[in-house]
């Protein structure tokens, strides 16, 4: 479990506790068992006023039956604004074609935690959202029963109507809306059974795809307001640097330029690292004027950061003894008694999220208000940062959450909103700040550069008897505490908690002080833990002269700890499914230059195995087909879940094969997509996605697809060519 997971879980727990506490003392309001605070419900109880039915913050049914369902979580393409509202609609027995989904503004009092990351939205909100729908349905049924002077047991809801089962009379949800507002709120609404699901688990189109294909959907960068000014920005290229001087004269003379604004470093997490911005009457003019600034930076202590040298240092740190984190059994004895000891070192580079929509926001600061329009993964953090900056209450910062044109973790950290706030305040107008692609790439919160060294002992039968796993990477925790110069205890817990059955184990933690901002990147540490575990297992299997699939099954079977039984069973389940679908048993018949690799990884409470088929000609690696097997419990939207796996393969291919953010002299060298060559359509393999059918709890899919991909690819390349790739990316672009 990573830091992100923990903090998200903590947020949810806090919010649940608050809700339970408040619901206990609330009088007269609607009490339904969702993780949203009760007192926020009060304002929705008087729906009769406008004849709409607002049983809770998420559902609004109008007199004509038109139904709004709010999505509290942020949408960045992962499909949550379809999956969760469809679950509400299912329990509500709503007609999906009558439902309009709206993205909620930032308001955690009303909607519960809106922090969207850690693949947590489905895991935490699936049941509460269903309860919200079920409670509303029971209230509609109660209203109809009252009209018909019968009992609720004689009524059923179906497709936006309540039906009297005694005489087949019908009342529409619209007709019932104002009456239902007075229905008692069910204490514990009854949820549907799996067999009764109408939308959950089915193939649903994204609610907004019609707008997308017509160019009508507005993203953060598309916000328009009367009197809007446009801004461009450049940042200090080195973390911790400061502006020394800035000659603004030429820029200020340019027609259309309104102001040139120095933005000092705002030294709190997710605040600006400092820069200079131009405000103009259009974005192009602002961008051009920016080039006329003569800026000198005092680059500060991080100006010697060089990722090539740093990575070499991390390798040295993991190939030498480091701080012991967990020790169980006797690793030394296992190594002494071993038939073989296998050693390998794995590395990975920094990554930039590079969503297609660069960082952008509109902010309008006025005397008594502050309004934000932005793609964000965490509106509450915007409220917190801006509240602190403007010295106002966070709740007084109104955040309109727009569709995000991709995010992948970057838009959790809204420095670009803080900057637009500074600019709006300065020019006293609404300001749209759009970062250039170059700024987006060079002023990121990067996926952690990393190194791992594993040594494992095998007995004569090829059982793993000992495992020494040493890691070194600058942690995300360094964002919040710069003194955190190595991974945290929680970051390393992954190793001792891994469900491989290994009696003698030691984890060690090497030094890795951060010299840039490290941030959550889709799948976070699962990218490199998944890589090391999956690739090293293949190396061990090869040494033990066993088939990787049987070897993995055996390592899992050797885990006899009852608390790991579920992880063992489900990991093996997805492995078996991926292997079957990829014809693992027939891989011997593949052409000589083709190879099949397999790996499995558990992350964010979801299990994914991937089998990757490649063709290798010299250094040229062509990925032909990927079979992904997924166990995420109950699937909400089959199509959306499938899309997440397709996306994981594409992102995995980018960072496995080529992309890496490189620092020299403290600054990022990559400037745009020609130096950060993400995957393009001509390299797209066939991706087939398979789901394990079961009744486990629903878990998220935004991230878990990444962990197993890189190792399965590396293993496939080995099978095809005999060459091991232990570094991500395999073949970095020389820049």
């Amino acid at each position: 479990m990573n830091l992100f997971n923990e903090s998200t879980a903590q947020l949810i727990n806090e919010s649940r506790r608050r809700f339970l506490k408040q619901s206990g003392v609330a009088a007269g309001g609607l009490v339904i068992g969702v993780v949203i605070p009760q007192h926020a419900m009060a304002k929705f109880t008087q729906g009769a006023e406008d004849a709409t039915f607002n049983p809770n913050a998420f559902i609004h049914i109008a007199e004509n039956g038109d139904t709004l369902i709010y999505c509290g979580r942020c949408e960045m393409g992962q499909g949550i604004s379809t999956a969760l509202p469809a679950a509400v609609a299912d329990e509500l027995e709503a007609d999906w074609s009558r439902v309009t989904v709206l993205q909620a503004d930032g308001n955690e009092e009303k909607f519960g935690s809106q922090a969207t990351g850690g693949s947590a939205s489905i895991r935490t909100m699936y049941i509460p959202m269903r309860e919200a729908g079920a409670a509303a349905k029971e209230m509609l049924i109660a209203a109809a029963a009252k009209v018909w002077a019968t009992s609720a047991a004689n009524c059923k809801a179906d497709n936006h109507f309540v039906i009297n089962t005694l005489n087949q009379q019908k009342l529409s949800y619209g007709e019932l809306a104002s009456l239902a507002a007075n229905s008692p709120v069910p204490a514990k609404p009854v949820l549907k059974t799996k067999a009764q699901f109408k939308y959950i688990g089915k193939d649903l189109a994204r609610h907004n795809q019609g707008d997308i294909v017509q160019g009508k959907l507005t993203y953060g960068v598309d916000t328009k307001l009367p009197g809007l000014k446009y801004a461009a920005i450049t940042h200090c290229p080195v973390l911790g640097g400061k502006l020394k001087s800035c000659d603004k004269s030429a820029a200020l003379k340019m027609a259309g330029v309104l102001d040139v604004v120095e933005i000092p470093r705002f030294d709190i997490p997710f605040g600006s690292i400092g820069g200079v911005a131009v405000v103009a009457d259009n974005t192009w003019t602002a961008q051009q004027a920016l080039k006329l600034l003569k800026i000198e930076w005092d680059l500060g202590a991080n100006q010697s950061y060089d990722t090539n040298a740093y990575k070499a240092m991390l390798v040295k740190n993991v190939e030498n003894p480091a701080e012991v984190m967990v020790e169980r059994g006797d690793v030394q004895k296992a190594f002494t008694d071993a038939a073989h000891v296998v050693k390998a070192t794995y590395t990975g580079g920094h990554l930039s999220h590079s969503p297609m929509e660069p960082n952008a926001s509109v902010v309008w600061v006025q005397k008594d208000s502050c309004e934000v329009w932005a793609a964000t993964q965490s509106p509450a953090d915007i409220q917190k940062v801006l509240g602190q900056y403007l010295k106002r209450e966070p709740k007084d910062i109104l955040v309109h959450v727009t569709m995000a044109g991709g995010a992948f973790g970057r838009k959790f950290k809204c420095d670009y909103v803080h900057e637009a706030t500074v600019l709006s305040q300065k020019v006293n107008a609404p300001v749209q700040l759009t970062w250039s692609r170059e700024e987006d790439m060079r002023t990121g919160y990067y996926h952690s550069i990393n190194a791992q060294h594993i040594e494992a002992s095998l007995d004569k039968s090829g059982n793993v008897t000992g495992w020494m796993h040493r890691i070194a990477f600058p942690p995300i925790a360094s964002l919040f505490n710069p003194a955190q110069g190595k991974a945290t205890k929680d970051d390393v817990a992954e190793i001792a908690n891994h469900p491989f059955g290994i009696a003698n184990l030691r984890s060690e933690n090497g030094d890795a002080p951060a010299h840039t901002r490290i941030g959550w990147y889709r799948a976070v540490y699962a990218i490199f833990y998944g890589f090391a575990y999956g690739a090293f297992a293949d190396e061990l299997a090869h040494q033990a002269k066993q088939d990787t699939l049987s070897f993995l099954n055996k390592v899992y079977d050797n885990n006899k700890d009852p608390k790991d039984a579920e992880k063992v069973r489900r990991s093996k389940g997805v492995l078996a499914l991926a292997a079957k679908q990829a014809n693992w048993d027939k891989r011997g018949a593949l052409p000589k230059n083709q190879g099949l690799g397999i790996a499995v990884h558990y992350s964010f409470n979801t299990y994914v195995a991937m089998a990757v088929l490649v063709e290798v000609n010299g250094d040229d690696i062509k990925v032909l087909e990927v079979n992904a097997a997924v166990d995420c419990g109950q699937v909400l939207n089959l199509d959306g879940a499938t899309a997440q796996m397709e996306g994981a393969v594409v992102m995995g291919m980018s960072y496995s094969l080529r992309t890496e953010i490189v620092f020299k002299n403290g600054a990022v060298v990559n400037s745009n997509f020609h130096q950060y060559p993400v995957l393009r359509i001509n390299e797209m393999p066939v991706v087939k996605v398979h789901f394990v059918e079961n009744d486990e709890k629903a878990t998220g899919l935004g991230e878990p697809g990444l962990g197993p991909f890189a190792p399965a690819l590396s293993n496939a390349v080995f099978a095809a060519s005999g060459k091991r790739y232990r570094d991500l990316p395999f073949t970095p672009l020389a820049i």
């Binding site: 795809q209 598309d222 192009w284 297609m356 594409v650 745009n672 359509i681």
Partner: protein, 160 residues
């Protein structure tokens, strides 16, 4: 000095600096925001529009250079969102975040105007200038192929 340009069948005066790329004229002056900014260097294709029917990167095309020409943006591709490409995109459930999709669709529209019976490789070659970070390529490919078949047979379907 009164240069003008036709965008989605409507004429507009070009009242911005000559070197302003068409992209920013569309987005900031006309507030036609369907055409997206992605890279500013013609590397990602998010800004693709049709210039006299041909797919063009609007982020590197000075608006003055296209004076007198006719531009089609995603907003003008069809009256009701029922161009065969739009329908194919819907039927294949292509978009994830959707940010790149206007550029993908416009690029495909320009391509299918010149190649009525594209092979899989033809689609790859034509579409590889358009980046999608969410990873919708498999579906884009299918949607372009589907639309090509529909357009070639002159079949049009109503969007739901």
């Amino acid at each position: 000095m009164s240069k003008s340009i036709v965008i989605n069948a409507k004429s507009y005066a070009i009242d911005v600096p000559d070197d302003m790329p068409l992209l920013w004229f569309l987005r900031d002056k006309l507030e036609l925001t369907g055409t997206k900014f992605g890279c500013g260097m013609g590397l990602c294709g998010a800004c693709t529009v049709l210039l006299d029917g041909q797919a063009t990167r609007s982020c590197v095309m000075p608006v003055s250079a296209v004076a007198g020409k006719s531009i089609t943006t995603i907003e003008g591709l069809s009256a009701k969102g029922d161009h065969p490409l739009q329908i194919a995109w819907i039927e294949n459930k292509v978009p994830q975040c959707g940010y790149c999709q206007a550029g993908q669709i416009m690029n495909a529209a320009g391509f299918l105007a010149t190649n009525k019976t594209p092979s899989s490789d033809d689609i790859d070659n034509a579409m590889q200038g358009n980046i999608c970070r969410c990873g919708t390529y498999q579906r884009i490919k299918q949607a372009v192929a589907d639309a090509a078949i529909v357009m070639n047979e002159g079949m049009y379907k109503e969007v739901k």
